[in-house]
Symmetry: C2
DNA sequence: ATCGGTCTTTGCGCTGGCGCAAATAACATA
DNA sequence: TATGTTATTTGCGCCAGCGCAAAGACCGAT
């Protein structure tokens, strides 16, 4: 553990800045200490595609450890972020020297993998409405995150238009309150009910 | 390495049999030596959902190592399969004792994770036609795998109806030959062209 | 206050893909 | 060869969601 911390660097960035961009050489791996960021993928055509949120305590940017030489996504801060980082090569050494750390990492990655596969399942079998509800409920209750409609669309695999229309309908039902880049869920139960299925009265 | 092999068990199953089912206690982890199998997820409603193929040389069923106590999916043999397996607990010990193995595993998992996220991106941004074409091209050229239309649908996130219609159209265009649970791609270039975009002449 | 940029909403038309239902084809078993 | 089972095809209708375009709303900076 001292070995780990001894080699750590620290970096702070502001909202809209990035720790790295898709395609950059994957020479560092990160642990987020404070803030929230968006890990976004780009389509071959260059548009924004899927995205994931990273919260304090999560790791990100570990592609370099896995034989990959560039980051597959962009790590953009949604709020001011403070993170620890290590050089990928040195981290590899550290992991070899402290196997229980490697196991810990394995567990984290495994969780991510299952998360991703669960999202795949949802994307293939579940309606936008329900995916969006899930995405909202996953967030901290008051959700101070400055997520644009576009961000939400990427998070649940749809378009900003559909997100806007759906959120608006929910606002008019009194289930949440919208603002520009802000959103407060007033009635989590209502959303939770939607997830089960809109047809279930 | 001798430590690893020393604790290995072997198991062989026939087509349509399974190494484990979704929900089973995740007490073992596997390495496929021969054959092909389908790792399929089930929706909460009980229907078939997404799926992934596993080929000889791939590992599967490692959920237990990652703090998960049951398998998230079902591992069903598409062809006769032979696999090595270890008790999850013992594998954990082995990994602690042989860090480079843990790193190797980390790399494998990382590749999987990126694969899954790439599929997410596709699912959100790309048409069924193109996803299906990709799925076919990923397979061994002659594709002796007995994949049903339902299987293919799960692999690329659509329905068996759409798969059937699409494949039929391609067969009539002369790009492949269909059979019950068999499929031979006659013109990979034609499919590859489709992936770039049907509008590109 | 004003201006420019970004984000959001909403009308409108359209279509890709879903999914039931029913016919057909391929296989397995005895 | 007959019979039940499972896989596949296809007609048909339908609708969720897309995406352009244009109009607002909000924000920050000067």
């Amino acid at each position: 553990m001292t070995l780990l911390l001894g080699h750590a660097h620290e970096k702070t960035i502001q909202r809209t800045e990035s720790f790295f961009h898709a395609g950059d050489a994957a020479a560092r791996c990160f642990l987020l200490l404070e803030g929230h960021l968006k890990l976004g993928q780009i389509t071959p055509a260059g548009e924004q595609g899927a995205a994931r949120l990273i919260a304090a305590g999560d790791i990100f940017g570990w592609a370099g450890l896995m034989d990959d030489h560039s980051y597959p996504g962009t790590a953009e801060a949604l709020t001011a972020c403070r993170a620890l980082w290590w050089e990928t090569e040195r981290m590899r050494q550290t992991l070899l020297a402290t196997p229980h750390l490697a196991l810990r990492l394995l567990a984290l990655l495994g969780r991510r993998l299952r998360e991703a596969e669960s999202r795949l399942l949802d994307l293939a079998t579940v309606r936008v409405e329900q995916r969006l509800a899930k995405a909202l409920l996953r967030q901290p209750a008051d959700l101070p995150l400055p997520l644009t409609r576009q961000d939400l669309a990427e998070l649940c695999g749809t378009t900003l238009y559909t997100v806007s229309r759906t959120l608006r309908a929910w606002e008019q039902a009194g289930w949440l309150r919208l603002g520009r880049g802000s959103l407060r869920v007033l009635s989590p139960p209502a959303l939770a009910a939607l997830i089960q299925g809109p047809d279930a009265s």
